[in-house]
Symmetry: C2
Subunit: 334 residues, 2 copies
């Protein structure tokens, strides 16, 4: 089997998880790794992975030099969330005729937030014959591509609501901290006001992707500030017991209106008091579609998987800045 040759750009959490899985899959070969952290440069990528094995891939800090010396099909870019910051890195990849699959949240639907950069990426990618796609579990799949795919059996669609219900007590401690677990409501509000606690990144990108998929011209898309979820009983969390009246986590809501009606609603609820986790899509249309993923999809594993499973499609597909909804669907790879 011909292996797809991958360069890992960004050797921190998400990049390493992707590398860990790719190194075990027979249809992929890691051929290079990039990071600017002087602590990492020169180390073998394998030394940062579970098991500390040698991959023979030395982490380099100069992308252009690496791209000149190594034959690759695609770059997995996991460095930054904002397109403005990540644009120069994407551009380096494009200029080296490399396809780009990135977890940059804003890249999942960049046309609204960064129309000029999007145009540049699209033009350059077409010019060089490569595909650039922003992906991940959310944005990229659960709240945009999958709901759109679930409209396939509909003759008409009036509205879409997507809800994620996640039990944060099962998640990493830094995540539990990030969502305000254990804070008093006052401290939580203060952290919201000072943007120390922010909601889930990418809700507006998902809304815009859904709207474009359905050909909807929205009146507006609104992301509300995250709201605290307050304990009504004592709840055990990774940060200790949360007492009644204190914060269990948060809910992030974004919605969009068209013709004065609320037509898209996205709700991401992450708190330690959740009894049953799920990811839910409710489509009002002809016919209605009510879909549920029981137990929900694990966010971190999901993002690694969706990113990896998108690579073969991106490598094969027509050049340009492509949205997940327009790419042949990602399917589990071997």
């Amino acid at each position: 089997m011909e292996q797809t040759k991958i360069i890992i750009y960004g050797c921190v959490v998400m990049g390493l998880r992707v590398a860990e899985i790719l190194s075990k899959k027979k249809s992929f070969a890691i051929v290079g790794a990039i990071d600017i952290d002087p602590e990492l440069v020169g180390k073998d990528l394998g030394s940062l992975l579970e098991g500390d094995h040698n991959l023979g891939i030395s982490i380099q800090n100069d992308p252009v030099e690496l791209f000149n010396t190594v034959d690759a099909d695609a770059v997995v870019l996991t460095t930054l969330s904002h397109l403005k910051e990540v644009f120069p890195q994407i551009d380096q990849c494009i200029q080296a005729n490399l396809n780009v699959v990135s977890t940059c949240e804003e890249l999942s639907y960049p046309w609204d937030r960064e129309p000029e950069l999007s145009r540049k990426i699209d033009d350059q990618a077409k010019d060089k014959g490569v595909t650039v796609v922003g992906t991940g579990i959310n944005p990229g799949y659960l709240m945009d591509t999958l709901p759109l795919i679930l409209t396939a059996p509909c003759l008409e669609v009036q509205s879409i609501k997507v809800s994620r219900m996640m039990d944060s007590s099962k998640r990493r401690i830094p995540f539990q901290k990030k969502i305000g677990t254990g804070l008093s409501p006052e401290v939580f509000r203060n952290k919201i006001d000072n943007k120390i606690i922010t909601g889930h990144v990418g809700l507006l990108e998902s809304i815009n992707m859904v709207a474009e998929g359905l050909g909807w011209k929205l009146d507006e898309a609104v992301e509300l500030p995250p709201e605290p979820v307050i304990a009504d009983r004592e709840v055990d969390t990774g940060l200790g017991l949360v007492k009644p009246g204190d914060v269990l986590g948060l809910v992030s809501i974004a919605y969009a209106t068209m013709g004065g009606e609320k037509v898209i609603t996205l709700e991401f609820n992450a708190n330690a008091g959740v009894d049953e986790e799920y990811d839910e899509v409710v489509i009002e249309g002809i016919p209605n579609v009510h879909e549920l993923i029981i137990g929900g999809v694990h966010g971190d594993i999901g993002t690694v998987a969706v990113t990896i499973n998108t690579i073969p499609r991106a490598v094969q597909f027509e050049p340009g800045l492509i949205l997940m909804k327009d790419l042949p669907p990602a399917i589990a790879t071997s």
Copy 2:
């Protein structure tokens, strides 16, 4: 908005339903209609639709002549289930440089059953620059494309089980008859043995699509003869009361093995005793995915919708004989 220009090939049940919906959608225009039934030829297509309005589209019996005189983008072909029979019609469309979206069940994954015809269609379609795709709710979506799409968040997949649970008492009377509603078990068995009652068409196509999507080389794919579902209480159906011990409907099962393990199982259960309808996908993998469409997807509406919603993707996509899993996903159209 530029409208996609459609020719309706086959003006009976499914073709008429597609035409009915297309005639109301602003992104499509019906530009021609074909049927060989002398009773239909010369009639206005609109006279066969709900409301009996005039569409200005006279049903013709000579496809080649119609293709020569009308400018169209795609043909919706709903004539026959077996590829052998439908091949000459597909070929006519391809030779006229027309994309083909067809409900022919065998076309959804034709490579196993009809490799030579598949090769011919693929070659010819590439030569003429058109896309040919077999679609519908099942095969085409619920038991193949959608389950594959649900593997996107998986690092690994060990097995997939898809179950449809349909309350047949809500369905058309001919359908209830077709699945043996009200028969004694003996009469049912007899009709199975004589192939008067057959199971759901397309299970093997769905299995082959799933296997190809996951890169699995199967040991074998098996379709079992349909089994009767026996009433344990009196049940009201469209064919009258069914008494305990008689047949409420049937269950069709197909499965595939790999390395001696059952890795794909498809179960289509249609009977009048169903309390809750659903379509379910259970993926064993890392992580597991358990998905449910509560209430299920209505088969007839679903097939019309998926067929229509596939058209824009087929018109846009690269030429060849394309499988639904490899096409950018169908999304509800306006």
